[in-house]
């Protein structure tokens, strides 16, 4: 009997609160999709990606914690809405323990339904996620149906942990409650209407001031040493708490007395319904705002990380680069092996030269943002390239052909150095190199494998007439190739295995140079060093892993927050129907009633979002700037437009998902 009743109740609830249960199913599918990455063969083959599974597990545990609380809250909320039904069970003589059991069965049924619905969607999502990861790693994606038992097991474990918390919370509540309290639950909201307004304005203003102070501290960082971030977060937390506690009463205090305002344009019902609703769920509103703020921040930071990683990759233009230190070298053996295994589109062997001059290095060092940057032994003087090599490389990269005067010198540098170098060349009219003067506007800034060491110079290279290098020392010789299809790090390892004496270049490892005049990453004796676009991509795996995990968290936080808000609104269905009926009797048209309702829903959806937008904007801005200066010693992203871009992408994506929930609520309510 009890089980039949549970089944019937579970069916009814899954209809009434469909949005919440669909969101639970979505959470399962996201969890499954991300868990497949932990057991993915592709991730296992990339040594640099080994951090990703740990990050996903950490993110999942955080999700379990947050979701545990939220699902507990929501199931309890749904139970409270059923107070009359529960009180009838009790009045019929069913003991609390049996009612708890009934609710337990219901939760298990609904949980099982959500899990079983979420899993197939998760399989589909995991394919999409794999396609994204493959794109990030430069691997061509091929669709294949794949079900991971391990990922499904882990997902089930997480989901059970979430449900268990909810079931325990409800059981505890159910055992404590009595019939009298259950029947009086409805009246609690009514009393909230008349609660005091006196201090609302003061609290509201103080919370706004606290919010402004927090935003200032996080953006401007006036104190340093992390104190500003810490105090900023405290201020913003106070802002959120104060804001949602005081805003309903503040609005009532400010506008309820203004008949000129409230009696116009059918504002009365919208205003009163809105303030009453937000007053009854002010704590939930605060929690939702925090969730949305976290979601927007994670999404924004994730997008910024992705933009930074892509920017990083943009400056690595060759698929394969082999370096031989200190002398010109014949790379034909490597080239033959490479051509046999990978179709090479174009290649070129050339030298990078140096002398004792530091003219441009001095200018470059002034522009570098990182003060304690490592000094590399190879880059203590200016670097040079022959005009003929430069022309050939530009041709390979399909850059616009530029006429080079064989009696003049030119510069190819990172965009951030262009202005300083131009000023330097203009100011020093006697500036020359091996007797050749500089072309006044001869500065080129396309991506040219200069962002890091052991490329075509470090941040810059002087392009000199061919005969000018005769008096210079060879810094290193390079073989650069562009392949017909992109290579990945597994191909790079294959090349290393095929070619004797070739090792991978690890720029992040540096030892003291033999002459003790700086550090060097060329640590192997008599070895040549392989680098290139796709092998370098692996070094960015940590960035991609962070971006993936942040998106994972952001998605879950957003959908669960939006589902809670939507369920809160839709749970007033009966009240809304009654209100609609009264307004119809009073002569309000159907169209106007729907418009009034939609206006209320829009305001309720907007309220937790506004502080979240403001705070996340501060966090993303500060975080993106920090990351940029940590990643780039030169400002490769030379203005703040890229932050605006990442914020734009974030907001569009967030609002798209949020909009789906809003439209669902609007449709369901007006149906």
């Amino acid at each position: 009997m009890l089980r039949q009743l549970s089944l019937r109740n579970a069916k009814r609830q899954s209809k009434e609160y469909s949005l919440f249960f669909i969101t639970l199913a979505c959470t399962v599918s996201f969890m499954y999709a991300f868990n497949t990455l932990i057991f993915s063969d592709i991730i296992k083959t990339f040594s640099a990606a080994e951090v990703l599974p740990y990050m996903i597990v950490a993110a999942s545990l955080l999700i379990v914690l947050v979701m545990g609380w939220l699902v507990g809250y929501m199931t309890n909320f749904i139970l409270k809405k059923r107070n009359r039904e529960l009180s009838i069970y009790m009045l019929s003589g069913i003991p609390n323990r049996s009612v708890s059991k009934l609710i337990f069965y219901e939760n298990v049924l609904i949980g099982a339904f959500s899990f079983l619905l979420g899993l197939p969607i998760g399989i589909l999502l995991s394919q999409i996620l794999e396609a994204v990861i493959d794109h990030m790693l430069g691997i061509s994606y091929a669709f294949s149906f794949y079900f991971s038992w391990n990922a499904a097991g882990l997902t089930l474990l997480y989901f059970l942990a979430i449900l268990l918390h909810a079931v325990r919370k409800n059981r505890k509540w159910m055992r404590k409650i009595n019939v009298h309290d259950l029947l009086l639950l409805d009246r609690q909201n009514e009393k909230a209407l008349a609660s005091g307004h006196a201090s609302a304005t003061l609290i509201f203003i103080l919370s706004l001031l606290s919010g402004c102070a927090g935003a200032y501290l996080i953006i401007a960082l006036p104190l340093g040493k992390g104190y500003d971030i810490l105090i900023g977060i405290i201020c913003l937390t106070i802002f959120l708490m104060g804001f949602f506690q005081s805003i309903p009463a503040f609005l009532v205090t400010r506008f309820a007395g203004r008949t000129e305002w409230k009696y116009r344009q059918n504002r009365l019902v919208t205003f009163r319904e809105f303030t009453t609703k937000i007053r009854s769920i002010s704590i939930v509103m605060g929690v939702l705002s925090v969730l949305f703020m976290l979601s927007l921040t994670f999404m924004g930071i994730g997008t910024s990380i992705y933009i930074i990683a892509e920017q990083h990759m943009e400056h690595r233009v060759f698929d394969v680069v082999i370096l031989h230190p200190s002398e010109l070298h014949d790379f034909s053996t490597y080239e033959d092996t490479l051509r046999r295994n990978f179709p090479v589109q174009s290649s070129h062997t050339y030298g990078i030269y140096t002398d004792e001059k530091k003219d441009f290095l001095t200018v470059r060092n002034k522009a570098v943002t990182e003060i304690n940057q490592l000094i590399f032994a190879e880059y203590r003087h200016d670097t040079y390239m022959k005009q003929s090599d430069y022309k050939r490389l530009r041709e390979m990269l399909s850059y616009e052909s530029v006429p080079l005067d064989p009696s003049l010198c030119y510069i190819h540098c990172m965009p951030a150095l262009e202005k300083d170098f131009r000023t330097f060349i203009r100011e020093d009219i006697d500036l020359s190199c091996a007797g050749y003067s500089f072309a006044p506007d001869g500065i080129f800034c396309e991506p040219f494998n200069q962002m890091e060491t052991y490329g075509n110079g470090w941040d810059y290279c002087v392009i000199v007439p061919d005969q000018a290098v005769s008096s210079m020392r060879v810094l290193h010789s390079l073989f650069a190739a562009i392949t017909k299809s992109p290579l990945d790090s597994r191909d790079s390892e294959h090349v290393i295995q095929l070619c004797d004496g070739l090792v991978g270049l690890e720029r992040n490892i540096a030892v003291a140079a033999s002459n003790n005049e700086g550090a060097t990453s060329l640590t192997e004796q008599d070895a040549d060093y392989l680098s290139g676009k796709w092998s370098d991509k692996e070094s960015l795996m940590i960035f991609y892993a962070m971006a993936i995990c942040l998106f994972y968290l952001a998605l879950i936080f957003e959908i669960i927050g939006a589902a809670i808000l939507s369920t809160q609104i839709l749970s007033d269905h009966e009240k809304k129907q009654r209100q609609r009926h009264i307004l119809q009797q009073l002569g309000m048209t159907e169209k106007l009633i729907s418009k009034t309702n939609n206006r209320q829903f829009a305001l309720i959806f907007l309220l937790p979002l506004l502080p979240a937008l403001l705070i996340s904007c501060c966090f993303v801005y500060a975080g993106a700037l920090k990351m940029r200066s940590a990643v780039f010693h030169l400002t490769a992203l030379d203005n703040h437009l890229w932050i605006a871009k990442s914020l734009g992408i974030t907001y569009i994506f967030f609002l798209f998902l949020y909009g789906i929930y809003y439209i669902f609520v609007q449709e369901a309510s007006n149906r």
Binding site: R187, E190, A194, T259, E260, L268, Q585, L586, G587, T589
Partner: protein, 260 residues
């Protein structure tokens, strides 16, 4: 909507209306060839036992429900032909409602509940304020205007509902068991007020009730039985007490609810 010639002073004219409920297998005839008229400024009560069709009749007149046959004319307009787009405006301009369970919006104060129909009509805020103050004074609820419905008594709520029903000066005020949720003292106050408004302002009131005391305030009573008009009595020059006893006699004849 159709405008048809009508009796010069009849505000409401109900002509041979029928109302059926249910499907083909189980049809219930809720109203059976009901016809009557209500004159301008009249206070008419409809009485009958539970299930006699009185609330159905009120719902049909108030355009909340539709009829199966016949015509209902209000001020010469056949309300059965009004389309859905115009029905809201028709209600707003012509009808006022009072219900047993008040039908006030919980989130609005009494003042705002009364002002609501005026805001829907687009009246200026200043005029709204003036009219709300006037009606509140007449209905003796000026002191509670800033309170929410849950903070006031049932009588005050019903007076507020009545104020909301008459504030737009509708042609016809319809009340469905207005004293059903009130104690005797509050009922008496409300009925006095309704009676005064009918007398002083000429409001036309159509009230459904099964309470003989409540009905005794009306000037004419229609008795419904099994969906048909069974009897009709007029107060005329009689005192309310005599009229009350006359109602009880008809009810006894009707064999319906026990008189209150």
């Amino acid at each position: 909507m159709n405008k048809r010639p009508n009796h010069p002073t009849a505000l409401l004219s109900v002509e041979h209306i029928e109302k059926y409920y249910g499907s083909q297998s189980a049809v219930t005839k809720a109203l059976d060839d009901v016809s009557f008229q209500v004159q301008c400024g009249e206070y008419v009560s409809i009485m009958g036992a539970s299930g006699s069709g009185k609330t159905t009749l009120l719902n049909c007149i108030s355009t909340i429900d539709t009829i199966s046959a016949g015509h209902i004319l209000l001020d010469g307009i056949d309300i059965t032909t009004i389309n859905d787009n115009d029905i809201a405006a028709f209600r707003r301009d012509n009808l006022g409602f009072v219900f047993q369970d008040f039908n006030l919006l919980d989130t609005l104060t009494l003042e705002e509940n009364i002002a609501l129909p005026l805001t829907i009509s687009g009246i200026s805020p200043k005029e709204i304020n003036d009219r709300v103050c006037q009606i509140a004074e007449k209905l003796q609820i000026s002191d509670t205007m800033h309170k929410f419905p849950f903070q006031v008594s049932g009588g005050q709520k019903q007076r507020c509902a009545f104020a909301r029903a008459v504030i737009c000066d509708p042609k016809l005020v319809m009340a469905d068991e207005p004293t059903g949720s009130l104690d005797s003292h509050s009922s008496r106050i409300l009925l006095e007020i309704m009676s005064n408004l009918n007398r002083d302002l000429g409001s036309t009131i159509l009230m459904v009730t099964h309470d003989a005391f409540c009905a005794s305030y009306a000037s004419r009573i229609l008795f419904l039985k099994d969906g048909k008009i069974f009897n009709e009595i007029h107060k005329g020059e009689k005192t309310r007490s005599i009229f009350y006893h006359e109602i009880l006699d008809v009810l006894a004849l009707l064999g319906g609810d026990k008189p209150c």
